[in-house]
């Protein structure tokens, strides 16, 4: 793949007005990061990988692929993203593009595995137990995308809010408030109001 200069210029002109430099990688929008990647900024590429690694990896894992297979899909998705960087016309929908691409590559790998296994076993053999035919229903992918959006918005909050909401909602078991208060160095009575303030900020970032 080549970052064709003409294509770059043409696409760049469609997004005029987007300030990409200087860039705060944590706060930058997907559109800003994509624009910056197109201008050859490697740090923006790394920020995109960091931002989406969990989501892209979750798709093949959710379909039942093992770590190595999921790794194969993961690499293919990011290579494709790099190669198609100039063709993405809706950078603000990058999460959906990545999920769709990861799903296609997962399916492709699954069907390759199946055909390989059927050749090995032959028609008369017992059918092999393979992963579900439809391991990635739309609703599961939509949920993954939403979870990603929330996590990304959370990462944009200040440290205190991040810590508090993580302790409250991302732990298998929510620690007692006394423990949270001690860890965050705040009175136990402040947890409720702080949580509300943090939640308000989170919903604002989510555009809700």
């Amino acid at each position: 793949m080549r970052f064709a200069e003409n294509t770059l210029k043409n696409l760049s002109s469609s997004f005029t007005g987007v300030q990409v430099d200087p860039i705060n990688y944590m706060q930058a929008t997907d559109k800003e990061l994509v624009m910056s990647c197109r201008q050859g900024n490697e740090s923006s590429w790394q920020a995109l990988v960091d931002r989406y690694q969990r989501l892209v990896y979750a798709v093949p894992r959710r379909a039942g692929l093992n770590e190595d297979q999921a790794g194969e899909v993961f690499q293919e998705v990011f290579v494709t993203l790099f190669e198609k960087m100039n063709e993405i016309t809706q950078p603000d929908r990058l999460h959906a593009w990545l999920v769709t691409t990861a799903r296609r590559k997962t399916w492709r790998l699954l069907s390759k595995e199946r055909s390989h296994q059927s050749i090995q076993t032959g028609e008369d053999d017992e059918p092999l137990v393979v992963v579900d035919d439809s391991p990635l229903p739309d609703e599961a992918l939509v949920r993954l995308e939403e979870q990603h959006r929330v996590r990304t918005a959370l990462a944009s909050l200040d440290d205190r809010c991040q810590q508090l909401l993580t302790m409250l909602y991302y732990q298998t078991e929510t620690p007692p408030y006394s423990e949270i208060a001690a860890m965050l160095g705040m009175p136990e009575g402040s947890i409720g109001p702080t949580r509300a303030r943090c939640f308000k900020k989170l919903l604002k970032l989510l555009g809700k």
Binding site: M1, Y57, Y169, A196, F199
Partner: protein, 197 residues
């Protein structure tokens, strides 16, 4: 709800969403007719649900690293247009001791050529190898960023990687006119065509 606002305070909604507090009869009645408060409560519950059900794991660190390196690998391999393209000029030729672009086939001894840019020099040595040629060279500069080298002719082309000393070599090169391109992470240095044979 108080004298200043007809709605349930946001902090109370978050507590309700977590089911930390019993919904009072007033709040229940209010939620029944206030779509603003009930939809906000629903939104908070949904968001909490997304967080609590998010069991996605980080990709292994080596996968992430490989994905990050895609940018550099592809840039080096294919040379995006954003690289600074520099045409090096011939500043020394041991054969003529002056800029020259031809190398006669009857030349039997090795020949040294130096191509220069503002920031680096390329030392190229050409020697006959049976009926063909060997080209060896080195990118001279303050440091060696790594990269690859392409030898491009009309009928023959080859590529090589810069080693840790920024050296490269091509063997069994047939006669022809060749351009040498060295791609580092941020530069593409090209030489004028050098004629062999």
């Amino acid at each position: 709800m108080n004298i200043f606002s007809p709605h349930i305070p946001f902090s109370e909604l978050t507590a309700l969403a977590e089911k930390q507090s019993e919904t009072s009869p007033e709040a229940t009645a209010h939620l029944a007719f206030c779509s603003e408060c009930s939809s906000q409560l629903q939104l908070i519950r949904q968001t909490i649900g997304f967080m609590r059900s998010d069991t996605a794991e980080d990709a292994p660190a080596e996968f992430i690293q490989q994905a990050k390196s895609v940018f550099r690998r592809k840039v080096v391999a294919h040379g995006p247009s954003l690289l600074q393209v520099i045409i090096a000029s011939l500043t020394f030729d041991s054969l003529t001791n002056a800029p020259a672009f031809g190398l006669r086939s009857q030349t039997t001894a090795g020949r040294q050529l130096i191509y220069s840019t503002e920031t680096a020099d390329i030392d190229v040595r050409v020697s006959p190898e049976n009926d063909q040629w060997q080209i060896a060279g080195q990118l001279l500069g303050e440091d060696c960023p790594g990269g690859d080298v392409e030898l491009e002719g009309d009928d023959f082309s080859a590529s090589a990687e810069l080693n840790e000393l920024c050296e490269f070599s091509f063997g069994s090169v047939p006669a022809g006119a060749y351009k040498i391109s060295i791609r580092t992470t941020d530069q593409l240095i090209q030489t004028p065509r050098l004629e062999l044979g």
